[in-house]
Symmetry: C2
Subunit: 275 residues, 2 copies
């Protein structure tokens, strides 16, 4: 079953109208229990493939992969990372969650803490939120003057270009949910005592700025979307479809990196291990 | 089936004679295909339990867990981390592999780089090699004068005591394999082109110092083994038994930490989410 990744990948230089993209779409799968079952089966196979590719990336040791996850609150960043990445060797994956910057981070430019968290060669780096917050929440809440955040689009673009040119593949995901889906997920957090800790009443204030965030996302995708560090808008109302889309992007990205098991610099046949 | 963890946990202040411990033992499991099958089934259940406990640790947010893995070459550190930790959310687990120290690391004391890699609250930190290398390879190869490495035992003990007292549980594992088992595993790396990159001819030199390493491990276990940061000698010839022993130690350690889902500082019933 072919997942239409071309539809979700934003072409460089193109505009994105998020309102026109259906967050509930399920691609080639029927949007019901049967589709979910088929997608879960596919995800299992994808995880095996990802595990093998991650081992190869590690052995190859000359390149890295950075996966960036952005979404509205309750958009599914945590769940995606858990479901898609869980089959991988944690030794080869490093997840960084970016929260409100610390005093030390604020004493540097906005990409300083991002730079520190970049994956080393052989590794997969996963960002739960990222430098894009500096043109999203920072813009919507007016945390810095407009001329400053406006300059950041080019700064981010140059930063990502450097990463790609020096051996780190970059894939950026916007987990696209509807406002109604967000309502249901926030309510679910309120209804389950084991999820109370995930609910922050301040999230409701952000929810009221939904359209401002959509506009900020659209600008980020238009301005920071080079050929080699593409944005994917992932329909994410259905978690099971979201997961297989993201897994497939990661697989395709890794397969396109030209990874190889390195040749030894000794002759394996000539080595003798004493008993 | 009860795994005899008491047998593997080194009592504080006691001496350890590694030669007298059978690396091929399999506890309550028969050492055959049937035992392996039963252990793998158990590991699946343990992984589910570990995933739930890791989520609780993260939600609780007031404590951390540090798991330290040490072994001879080919002792199974990488494989253990892959097999035991793979079911956990990579967002809550951070693996650090300590290799030969960099110039910057050498410009600081030996615990500086360890300190930087400690897990933050809510996280599980996994060390693939650790500060113990500074009383193992450093001692065996004579990389620093004896008075310096001799002082390190107390320094490590004080460091770990601080960790435990300030909310980081510590569990230390020595993966115990026989010298013959090491020979077979190194040979397997030579025989498989996809594993050549894992073989380093220099490992054979270390192998020739087997008994020196055993003595150094025994001293480390005697000198740095407080009640709260215990050493476990894990029979590791059989990977499937090794995995269930380590998973069980991690489960018991997490269960003993008194973790709770935090109470919200708002009234969930009073929150209303607008449509």
């Amino acid at each position: 079953m072919e997942i239409p990744l071309g539809r979700y990948r934003r072409a460089p230089g193109s505009d994105t109208d998020l309102v026109s993209i259906d967050p509930a779409e399920t691609g080639p799968f029927p949007p019901n229990g049967e589709g979910r079952k088929a997608a879960r089966k596919l995800l299992k196979r994808q995880r095996d493939r990802l595990e093998a590719l991650q081992r190869l990336l590690y052995a190859d040791g000359s390149q890295a992969l950075l996966a960036v996850f952005q979404a509205m609150d309750a958009g599914g960043k945590d769940g995606t990372i858990r479901r898609v990445m869980t089959g991988m060797n944690p030794q080869g994956v490093r997840v960084t969650s970016f929260k409100a910057p610390t005093e030390e981070e604020l004493a540097h430019d906005f990409l300083w803490r991002i730079n520190r968290a970049l994956p080393r060669k052989g590794m997969i780096g996963v960002f739960n939120r990222s430098h894009y917050e500096d043109v999203l929440v920072v813009r919507v809440k007016g945390l810095v003057p407009e001329p400053i955040w406006r300059r950041r689009y080019d700064q981010i673009d140059a930063f990502e270009r450097r990463l790609v040119e020096t051996g780190t593949a970059v894939a950026k995901f916007y987990l696209h949910i509807s406002k109604e889906e967000q309502r249901e997920r926030l309510q679910a957090r309120l209804d389950d005592p084991e999820k109370h800790w995930k609910f922050d009443p301040a999230d409701l204030k952000e929810r009221s700025r939904w359209n401002d965030y959509l506009a900020a996302y659209q600008d980020a995708m238009a301005r920071c979307n080079s050929e080699f560090a593409p944005w994917y808008v992932v329909p994410a109302n259905h978690k099971w479809y979201r997961n297989v889309v993201i897994a497939q992007v990661l697989i395709d990205t890794l397969e396109g990196m030209g990874l190889n098991y390195p040749d030894p610099d000794f002759d394996p046949a000539a080595v003798c291990i004493d008993g």
